[in-house]
């Protein structure tokens, strides 16, 4: 049986990769995918604890997270498409109109 800390370390690594992806990637789609990565890292943590503690609550929350992530992905991709139509670019560095 794989011990709990292996799961947690894996989840932390995936989460860190997601964070770095969100912060540094120059493509909005990859940024969105990195967000998914972060969400799934969290899901993994929930599941690991659920199994370890023998409680179903963690799994229930994961279902919620997946539902929210799906909705978020839909809206995020829709925004990405309309931004792309508007500016022919998906580089977040170029999207800085919202400032003084």
């Amino acid at each position: 049986m794989v011990p709990l800390d292996h799961y947690l370390i894996l989840a932390a690594v995936i989460f860190a990769i997601g964070v770095i992806g969100v912060l540094v990637r120059r493509n909005l789609i990859v940024v969105l995918m990195s967000i998914e990565l972060m969400l799934n890292a969290v899901n993994l943590t929930f599941i690991a604890f659920s199994r370890y503690l023998g409680s179903m609550q963690g799994q229930v929350i994961v279902f919620f997270v997946m539902a929210v992530a799906a909705a978020e992905a839909v809206i995020g991709l829709a925004i990405v498409i309309s931004v792309f139509r508007h500016r022919q670019s998906l580089d977040p560095q170029e999207m800085q109109l919202l400032k003084w």
Partner: protein, 645 residues
């Protein structure tokens, strides 16, 4: 020094005296043009007539030792300090009421003729009625604050009426000058008033009421009284055009002539003398102030008279004459002869109003000409004006049994015989009497006698003024003779005047030294110098003569030029005060304000902007930067909370 007990009665009628002219003024402001010129002029005259009738009725009701009061409402109160809007009439006020409303009424009537064809006629009557209102507040107020409102109000009306023909810029400037010079005096007056209130308040008596003040005046220390009276006298100097603040009055002649007669001769300029008489209980406790008043009065009387010798503008001569006569009043005040001062104020109101209105009639006839060099020989054209002018001239020169004779001789006699008086004061007054006779007869001869020097075009249009203008002249001329008979000296039939005012001024009559023979001798001396002045004027101006030119070129013409330019006082003030002041103001406006004041404000704004310019750099608009901030903050918080456990 205790005043005899005075009975106080409440008479509700009093408030209507100032109120009616105010209402008429307001009606003319709002509906004047709709009423039409005739109706609005008539309304203005009727309002003053109504006030005059009430004044006569009050005068008839008033017992000599009585005071009538009318409290309209309590204006404000703070603790035990109460100021009411209330009026009082005692013997002194009754005299002033009759002068203000009576002469005011005559001058209103006269103005119907004088200003009737001017397009600003309705405005003129609005101002004139407003003036009567404020003047009545001034003389009727039973406390210093009501008096002060009237005091400022008449100054305002004076300013408005001097600049009445505002299209001419010099008139506006003359109005400004009058207003600003009066402000200087008013500032002193206000300081004196405040000092009086706070000093009495420190003793536990908070009041502005004349009767209360009189009751508690002994609580004040002599030093404070001297200071207070000096400050109040600064106000009187400004309003009554004494040295050094007399400069506004000659320029005030820029206003229409009825205004000069009413405001700048008969009533407003005497407010200073009235105020000192009203506060006589303060002034008698300050002998230092009184002697200063007497000296300033004498100096003003003399210097103004010398300037009047050489002026060529018909109204300017009268203006300096007014300043000089006001000086006489202050001589009387300064020696403590308040009732004599008010007596001269009373007689002066008649003959000076008559002279001014007469000069107005002349100016009217000549189509606006004021230079006496272009008059002459008008006796034949303007008979009524001539005769009334002659009578008023005789009165001011002090011819026997005219009103000026009685009042001026009374002042001179008091100046000689009273303990506060002195031979020097008498001598200056006596010399001035001679000068007065000279310059007045010089004017009479220049204007009415000899050859007419007007050009043919003007000459063809000379006409006697209409009856609305000559009738007031006749009434005033009668007053110029008979008004003085009330105050005859003891060796004739005695003075009803002093009896009448005695309750107001209390037992102020100090024993005079000197006998009746002295008094008669001094009177004869005064008559002699007056006659000398007349003879001199006759030989210089009454017939063709080289004398004026010879006098003018005396000592290289220096003295003549000095007098002609009024001792260069205006130039001196211009150099000493006006120029430095405008220079400073200009510097403040053009350098200090834009550089320093604006600079400070702009520096604050610029600083804020510069600071923001630095800090706004952190708002990049790039969402990834914000998220990095998020992360950093989250990690920091995490570290913090973990550390705590």
């Amino acid at each position: 020094m205790v005043a005899p007990t005075q009975t106080v009665a409440t008479v509700d009628l009093l408030r209507w005296m100032p109120l009616i002219p105010l209402l008429a003024s307001l009606i003319n402001v709002f509906f004047g043009t709709r009423l039409g010129r005739k109706a609005s002029g008539g309304l203005a005259c009727a309002a003053v007539l109504a006030s005059f009738s009430i004044a006569l009725y009050i005068f008839w009701l008033l017992p000599a030792t009585g005071i009538f009061r009318d409290t309209v409402y309590t204006w404000f109160e703070s603790g035990s300090f109460q100021v009411k809007l209330s009026f009082q009439v005692d013997a002194l006020t009754a005299v002033m009421l009759l002068v203000v409303t009576g002469i005011g009424f005559l001058i209103h009537i006269y103005s119907l003729g004088y200003i009737g064809h001017d397009e600003g006629m309705i405005r003129f009557f609005v101002y004139l009625n407003l003036f009567i209102f404020f003047m009545l507040l001034l003389v009727m107020g039973d406390n210093l604050l009501v008096l002060f409102i009237g005091w400022e109000g008449v100054g305002l009306c004076s300013y408005l009426l001097i600049g009445f023909w505002y299209q001419d810029h010099t008139n506006t400037i003359a109005g400004n000058k009058a207003f600003i010079v009066n402000r200087i005096g008013d500032f002193g007056f206000m300081l004196g008033l405040l000092l009086l209130v706070t000093e009495l308040g420190r003793q536990g008596v908070w009041t502005l009421d004349f009767m209360e003040l009189q009751k508690h005046v002994n609580l004040l220390s002599p030093d404070k009284i001297t200071l207070i009276t000096l400050l109040l006298f600064v106000g009187a100097i400004g309003k009554s055009a004494q040295i050094p603040l007399f400069v506004w009055l000659p320029d005030a002649m820029a206003g229409p002539t009825p205004v000069s007669a009413l405001i700048h001769a008969a009533t407003m300029v005497t407010a200073g003398a009235y105020m000192t008489a009203r506060l006589h209980f303060l002034f008698v406790l300050a002998p230092g102030t009184l002697s200063l008043i007497a000296v300033i009065g004498a100096a003003t009387a003399f210097f103004a008279a010398t300037v009047a010798l050489t002026q060529n503008d018909i109204k300017r001569v009268l203006a300096y004459s007014t300043v000089s006569q006001l000086g006489y009043m202050f001589i009387a005040v300064g020696i403590g002869a308040f009732s004599t001062a008010i007596f001269h104020l009373f007689t002066h109101a008649f003959f000076k109003a008559c002279l001014f209105l007469g000069s107005g009639s002349v100016i009217h006839a000549l189509g606006g000409e004021q230079d006496m060099g272009k008059m002459g020989g008008l006796r034949a054209y303007l008979p009524t004006t001539y005769w009334t002018y002659l009578i008023a001239t005789l009165a001011i020169a002090g011819a026997p049994f005219t009103s000026g004779f009685f009042s001026k001789d009374s002042i001179l006699w008091q100046a000689y015989s009273r303990p506060h008086g002195s031979t020097e004061l008498w001598f200056v007054g006596w010399l001035t009497a001679g000068l007065t006779a000279f310059y007045m007869f010089r004017q009479l001869f220049l204007v009415f006698h000899g050859q007419c020097r007007a050009d043919d075009h003007v000459k063809a249009h000379i006409h006697e003024s209409p009856a609305v203008m000559t009738l007031p002249l006749v009434v005033l001329a009668a007053g110029s003779i008979f008004a003085g008979w009330l105050g005859a000296p003891e060796y004739l039939w005695g003075s009803r005047w002093d009896q009448w005012l005695q309750p107001t001024f209390g037992g102020l009559h100090e024993a005079a030294h000197g006998s009746e023979t002295d008094e008669i001798n001094l009177t004869l001396l005064t008559l002699a110098i007056g006659a000398l002045g007349f003879v001199f004027a006759y030989f210089a101006y009454g017939r063709a003569s080289k004398l004026p030119d010879r006098l003018a070129s005396l000592a290289g013409g220096g003295p003549y030029r000095l007098l002609l330019h009024k001792y260069y006082v205006d130039e001196l003030y211009d150099f000493l005060i006006v120029r430095p002041f405008t220079y400073c103001s200009r510097w403040l406006a053009q350098v200090f304000d834009p550089e320093v004041i604006d600079g400070l404000v702009n520096a604050v704004a610029k600083g804020a902007r510069g600071f923001s310019l630095i800090w706004r750099e952190i708002q990049t608009g790039n969402v990834q930067h914000y998220l990095a901030g998020f992360l950093a903050a989250t990690l920091a918080l995490l570290a913090y909370f973990l550390n705590q456990q």
